[in-house]
Symmetry: C2
Subunit: 201 residues, 2 copies
């Protein structure tokens, strides 16, 4: 019997996944969590064999939860499930020790199979996502450029970004200009869009 921990902030989806996994004879959902913090607490309490984590959760990223779980429960298999799979996320997830990564668009049979595969010590990455990740490659942005671009995401004027990043407005514009150029975007707003699509911010 494989003991599974489920974490997803959307209660309806999480319960539905539980129902789906419950149909399998060799799987048992032993704990559920609706946030990253709760997931860690549940993991400590129930020591599951495999943790299935949603990428987007209100308090913290599923990937950061995964990173902590690798040290907390080294034997626990980690699977990330996500709505919109961005290449950058996949890379970060694998670095965090995640061994299963799949978008919610895959068919139902895949999920339970992946849980079994990961439990056996194997890996599974959605082929389409893997292809995208390889073609997209690493982020061309320097850490500071990514920071500034992140702050520019809400459509804030340069002056405000400068204050929030403790930089001079001129430097902010330089970083944004460099980022836009690297991303082939005509302006920072399109650059934000591109960076988001690739999971670089």
């Amino acid at each position: 019997m494989i003991r599974v921990l489920l974490a997803d902030d959307e209660n309806l989806v999480r319960s539905a996944f539980a129902a789906l996994l419950g149909l399998e004879d060799d799987l048992e959902v032993v704990a559920q969590a609706s946030s990253g913090a709760e997931a860690l607490a549940m993991a400590r309490a129930h020591t599951p064999d495999v943790a299935v984590l949603d990428l987007q959760m209100p308090d913290r990223d599923g990937i950061s939860v995964a990173g902590e779980l690798t040290t907390l429960l080294p034997g626990c298999g980690l699977v990330i499930v996500t709505g919109h799979g961005r290449p950058g996320h996949l890379k970060r997830a694998l670095e965090a020790g995640v061994r299963g990564f799949l978008p919610k668009t895959v068919s139902a049979a895949v999920l339970s199979d992946v849980v079994r595969t990961v439990h056996r010590g194997g890996r599974y990455v959605d082929p389409e996502l893997a292809a995208e990740a390889i073609s997209a490659g690493d982020s061309p942005l320097t850490p500071r450029e990514a920071d500034v671009l992140e702050l520019a995401a809400g459509g804030a004027p340069v002056e405000e970004i400068a204050v929030r990043a403790h930089l001079s407005p001129g430097t902010v514009r330089n970083h944004l200009s460099a980022a836009s150029a690297k991303l082939g975007a005509p302006n920072r707003h399109a650059a934000v869009d591109t960076a988001r699509r690739h999971g670089w911010i």
Copy 2:
């Protein structure tokens, strides 16, 4: 026995919902679709009692599908399920004849209850969403302003928006300026953000 149609582009979620509803004795999932067009075709073929539609689908909005279904199958109950519930969507959905509207954050028991309620001719709207919708009110934007703002969403320069909307650049700027003022935003990018959050575009 209540015959249910399920439509959601995320196969995993849709199958999971099917498993969840399948646990109920009085519910039967008779058809599934992964796009708006497919949902309509399935509805024609299976004439379900209740249709459960995801708000976001690749080809078309769940609300527009609902609007078409009201004329196609007047007796069919309509339920919209959504990840991020925006007030504007709720209003548009109700106008389209939808009688159930709930975010994916609700607990599992709610979904099957709502299906039953809607089948009986009743209504269900998530209380939190309803409160937001009332406080948010109607869109202050004129149709044209909403159009132009929509085109500005990708971060495109004014010149490009003008071409795509068949307008002069000056007019585009006037519309954007008016929209930003109405939304209390310092620039169009923040205005896009605000309008999106309210479901006005």
